[in-house]
């Protein structure tokens, strides 16, 4: 458990949690040290549930995609019976990557090197020179594709775990399920990932994006030009409808912020730029939500924004559009990001168009906001060049406040306490 190489004496702890004294700090070493990253790979990415993909991405039997998760190359596929499978993308023979396409539909996977072929359950079905192998060679499935030790699903979201002994997904997700439900309930049928993945990156430590994804404090200063745009487009900042501003520590390192905001929400809050048509459509969507869930829950779904981090690296942000996002380290100072748009299946084409238009006004590598986060996080990472002398991040905002807001740092402390428990072995 924890780091095997002790830290230098200047930073005996990485998370300095003295909440009673109003102090909460994180050592900048945690963002730059290769031994910390090695420990994270083992204790966090090797043991936590990690998001792989959504059921709609492999909608029909034979559909597959390949995806990088925690440095592994995985195949996510639906077999002939409609069951979803996850394999390591490596041939049991010599190890070559079996599947080289990003996505497609197939009835088998063939490794071109020696032409071993596998069915959609990963089972070896043909290979040249089969007679030269003894019967024992595949007695226990040694010549099949290796499945991920665990694969479980919650409301269409598939997660894998490399730890065979991990607790089940539902327990792991715990209190986050209430907030996942608020997103998945937006369709009377089911939700789907819209075509296309935004694959981009930050030149920053992966934990900075966990913080940033639910950081209400940076909104105004970092994203001033986005709010300028909202004002210019709608003739003013507009109504937030709900006044709530509430961070939740959901336990297990998971956290969410709930708040009202001036932007339009395709489900189901219109803005002036959408005109009469948008107003009518969102009113109909709200009426349908009210019919299904009653007024209180319908309003919560429709008007309240939520940014949630499911520990360690899965984000569901239900804001001016819904984005799913994963991020993972490819070094202490660099991460890769995958982002998707999630939407109600069967959404009418005009609403879908508005949703995607809305998504891009803020989110993603070409949005009016995310590129500035790229810059902010890169500057943090560059600032950590001074970590030996200027060694600490402050995460104390709102400590011991009776009613903290989303501009406080309750949600980041939830992340860091779980991180410390797993990395430093601290008691919760």
């Amino acid at each position: 458990m924890g780091l095997q190489t002790p830290f230098d004496s200047a930073t005996p702890v990485l998370v300095d949690d003295r909440a009673g004294q109003g102090i909460f700090r994180v050592a900048r070493r945690a963002f730059v040290a290769p031994d910390v990253l090695a420990c994270e790979q083992r204790e966090i990415f090797g043991k936590c549930w990690l998001y792989l993909g959504h059921e709609s991405e492999v909608a029909s039997p034979g559909d597959f995609l390949t995806r990088r998760v925690a440095g592994r190359s995985l195949i996510f596929a639906r077999n002939k019976d409609g069951e979803i499978r996850a394999f390591f993308n490596t041939c049991p023979h010599r190890g070559a990557m079996v599947c080289r396409e990003k996505q497609g539909s197939a009835n088998m996977f063939r490794c071109f090197y020696h032409s071993w072929a596998f069915d959609l359950d990963g089972k070896l079905i043909t290979r040249p020179g089969n007679d030269s192998y003894s019967e024992n060679a595949n007695a226990h499935g040694e010549h099949n594709l290796v499945r991920t030790p665990r694969l479980e699903e919650y409301r269409g979201l598939y997660f894998i775990n490399f730890d065979r002994d991990a607790p089940d997904l539902a327990s792991y997700l715990g209190n986050t399920r209430e907030f996942i439900d608020l997103v998945m309930d937006q369709s009377p049928d089911s939700m789907e990932v819209v075509g296309g993945t935004q694959e981009y990156g930050f030149k920053a430590n992966w934990k900075l994006l966990a913080e940033n994804s639910m950081d209400g404090y940076h909104g105004q200063p970092t994203h001033a030009t986005y709010f300028d745009y909202v004002m210019s487009t709608n003739g003013g900042l507009g109504d937030t409808v709900v006044k709530i501003s509430k961070p939740h520590d959901l336990g297990g390192g998971h956290a969410v912020v709930e708040y009202g905001a001036p932007w339009g929400r395709p489900i189901a809050k219109s803005v002036p730029a959408w005109g009469k048509e948008g107003e009518d459509e969102t009113a109909a969507l709200r009426a349908s939500l009210t019919q299904r869930f009653g007024e209180e829950r319908a309003n919560r779904i429709a008007y309240t924004n939520r940014n949630m981090v499911i520990f360690p690296n899965f984000v569901i942000n239900d804001i001016m559009a819904i984005t799913l996002r994963t991020f993972e380290p490819i070094g202490p100072g660099q991460m890769r990001v995958n982002a998707w748009a999630l939407a109600p299946k069967g959404e009418n084409p005009k609403s879908r168009q508005r949703r995607l238009y809305n998504y891009l006004e803020f989110l993603g590598p070409g949005g009016f906001a995310t590129p500035d986060d790229c810059e902010a996080l890169a500057l943090c990472q560059e600032g950590y060049a001074n970590a030996a002398e200027a060694g600490w991040n402050d995460i104390s905002k709102g400590l011991n406040q009776e009613r903290p807001s989303i501009e406080d740092e309750v949600q980041m402390r939830a992340f860091w306490r779980e991180w410390s428990r797993r990395i430093e072995g601290t008691e919760p």
């Binding site: 296309g196 981009y200 001033a224 030009t225 487009t233 490819i330 084409p349 891009l360 790229c374």
Partner: protein
């Protein structure tokens, strides 16, 4: 994918005229003269950057892009990029836009198609990023002058993990 030539109708400009226009466009972008750049678009024009590797027929109404600006948002993008609060581009990165393989791919004076290849370098704080791909334009002639009706910039890299973002006009 590359577009292939379609039938031509009467067109009063030739490839050399179009190249002059595209080189001028590149020079404006290199010099951060974005207000002058956006004036090359006709009102109602649009500007798209699909996700890396997207098919040439990808549609922003049904697929996730990086950028899908109508004319309003395109002008807002330009306003944003010229503010010092567009943090990612303050101070402005140094850019160089290379344009080649220009082809007119059909149409006439009212509307005609153009494709080109591009390599755009962006440098900031000791790091240089390369964006490469191809542009597709729908152009028109207004009082004899070339104007852009639609521009789509397709990135041909597998992803943009290395570049990280599309914070400049590529």
């Amino acid at each position: 994918m590359s577009a292939h030539t379609a039938p031509m109708r009467k067109l009063s400009v030739n490839r050399s005229d179009v190249e002059d226009f595209l080189f001028e466009e590149a020079a404006l972008l290199d010099d951060w003269k974005l207000t002058e750049w956006v004036a090359l678009f006709e009102p109602g024009a649009s500007y798209y950057v699909p996700t890396a590797g997207a098919a040439d027929d990808a549609d922003p109404a049904t697929s996730l892009f990086y950028v899908a600006d109508d004319y309003h948002r395109l002008t807002e993008r330009v306003k944003r990029l010229l503010k010092r609060t567009a943090h990612v581009e303050f101070p402005h990165s140094r850019c160089r836009h290379m344009v080649s393989n220009v082809r007119i791919i059909g149409g006439g004076d009212d509307t005609f198609g153009v494709t080109s290849n591009f390599a755009t370098y962006r440098s900031k704080r000791g790091r240089t990023e390369l964006y490469f791909g191809h542009h597709r334009y729908v152009m028109t002639l207004i009082d004899g002058a070339i104007r852009i009706r639609q521009k789509t910039s397709f990135l041909d890299s597998d992803d943009i993990a290395e570049q990280g973002k599309v914070s400049i006009i590529i």
